[in-house]
């Protein structure tokens, strides 16, 4: 038996104990805050990550019941040259853990390079950032993606049509599609939709039960912390100050609830990691929702402009109409 499996087995066996500790000890206030609907945030001190993969395995085990199970053949979707089938359900594809897939909601990127004259190797657990104003949640055309009061961004598998708009508007293109499942198979499987989109849901079911997400719980190096947003953000900046490091995720896309702290700048890390489908970047990201929300504000005040314009334009006319009415009244025989 490999040492890796032994440790994993040990950690699995220890999970129940960890649950008990979490619910009785240090993490109790944090999970209580989560149950109370307070905005939750995670801090990842990526200096500590050793890429052991325990978080990846735990995520898969805990969320296995949520994974898609296509029944039968993939639908024949039109037009063929535009609608690509995304099928990750074959056993060998389900096992992929080096990128995001519908069956792998967390993976570890490795950045190797040189900074300030020193070599570095930093491992970075990657998953949904759970943005504070998530474009995926706000812009889903069917309302399938939504934000919980505690800041968790979820995609409801029974509502999602798999159009992948969430993936397009996400600055990191996080959600991954599995074809051949979901609601779209019922109305018009050939002409609209293409499966269901999947991503990290921050173990919302465990948080609702007063537990912490599986990836947080099993990490042997305590890479991740989870707690109320303000406290975690303060902790992240304190840590960054302490190590003369950098924070990623606080300003990106207008703010996220995943904060990475690193001794190496994130633009340096971004150059060092592999990027591509299912492998998100670490670039700085502008707020996707800023411009649409400026126009939404304009939409909200637009009627006021219309009212003022009409008051200015129709006042003389109304006066004329009243004068005309008075004239008519005076000429009416009694």
């Amino acid at each position: 038996m490999s040492p890796r499996l032994t440790r994993r087995s040990f950690l699995k066996a220890g999970a129940l104990t960890a649950d008990a500790v979490a619910s009785a000890g240090l993490q109790a206030p944090r999970t209580a805050a989560a149950a109370g609907g307070q905005e939750l945030c995670t801090l990842l001190d990526i200096r500590k990550c050793i890429a052991c993969g325990e978080c990846v395995s735990a995520c898969r085990e805990v969320n296995e019941q949520k994974f898609p199970e296509p029944q039968g053949a993939m639908p024949d979707m039109l037009p063929h040259n535009r609608v690509k089938i995304a099928d990750w359900s074959a056993p060998e594809k389900r096992e992929i853990d080096h990128r995001l897939t519908p069956y792998n909601w967390l993976f570890i990127q490795t950045a190797e390079g040189r900074f300030k004259g020193k070599d570095f190797e930093i491992n970075i657990p990657r998953r949904c950032m759970h943005c504070r104003n998530a474009p995926c949640s706000k812009l889903c055309p069917f309302g399938a993606a939504f934000t919980q009061p505690n800041g968790i961004i979820r995609i409801h598998p029974e509502v999602c049509m798999g159009g992948a708009k969430c993936k397009q508007v996400c600055p990191w293109h996080i959600p991954e599609r599995q074809s051949g499942v979901g609601l779209h198979l019922n109305p018009l499987p050939q002409y609209a939709g293409n499966g269901v989109m999947y991503k990290c849901d921050r173990c919302y079911h465990r948080i609702a039960d007063g537990k912490v997400p599986a990836c947080v719980e099993v990490c042997p190096e305590d890479v991740q912390q989870i707690g109320p947003r303000d406290a975690i953000a303060a902790q992240a900046y304190d840590l960054a100050k302490e190590i003369d490091g950098y924070v990623y995720g606080d300003k990106e896309n207008g703010g996220t609830n995943t904060l990475y702290v690193s001794p190496v700048p994130f633009d340096v890390l971004n150059k060092a990691i592999e990027k591509g489908p299912g492998e998100p970047h670490l670039k700085s990201v502008a707020d996707v929702m800023a411009a649409p929300n400026r126009w939404a504000t304009a939409l909200a005040v637009a009627p006021v402009a219309g009212v003022l314009g009409a008051l200015a334009r129709f006042k003389p006319l109304a006066t004329n109409l009243e004068a005309e009415k008075e004239d008519n009244d005076e000429t009416q025989p009694e």
């Binding site: 939504f146 919980q148 939409l299």
Partner: protein, 151 residues
């Protein structure tokens, strides 16, 4: 009463904005890329969801301005509800509904509002439903014709 030239101009502006809003509204669903609309020269922007949304909101703001202008104008000119034909009444009701639901759908995009799944879906489908109603009533009005305001 024959509408003035400026009123006719505003009516055409309203109709044009409504068409753009309907086009961009349906473009918020992932259809234009799939069905080659975004391949048409001059329509590439319609395949970009954020660009599409911005145009949708701009035309929505224009429609809201014109609708408020028209509503207050009708009050100032002392029009009565009974002065309007059935199709005009239906069109006005559906436009008010689509604008109000659109405003709510736009406001839910702010970070401080986090509607849950049920409210999110209700807002989304209510706006979609009212948009379909506007399109149907608009087409009906064009096909059947409409009476002028009675006075």
């Amino acid at each position: 009463m024959k509408p003035s030239r400026s009123s006719r101009g505003l009516n055409w502006l309203f109709a044009a904005a409504l068409l753009v809003a309907l086009f961009t509204g349906f473009g918020n669903m992932p259809l234009y890329g799939r069905y080659y609309i975004a391949d048409i020269p001059g329509f590439q922007w319609s395949g970009n969801f954020i660009a599409n949304l911005k145009v949708h909101l701009v035309t929505g703001a224009l429609l809201a301005t014109l609708a408020a202008y028209s509503l207050v104008g009708s009050v100032r000119r002392k029009y009565k509800w009974s002065d309007f034909s059935a199709s005009q009444k239906l069109l006005r009701i559906s436009v008010v509904l689509v604008l109000v639901s659109g405003l709510l759908a736009g406001l839910k995009n702010f970070a401080f509002l986090t509607p849950g799944l049920a409210l999110n879906m209700t807002l989304t489908f209510f706006h979609l439903g009212t948009a379909v109603l506007v399109a149907v009533v608009g087409i009906m009005t064009l096909v059947i014709g409409k009476k002028k305001v009675a006075r």
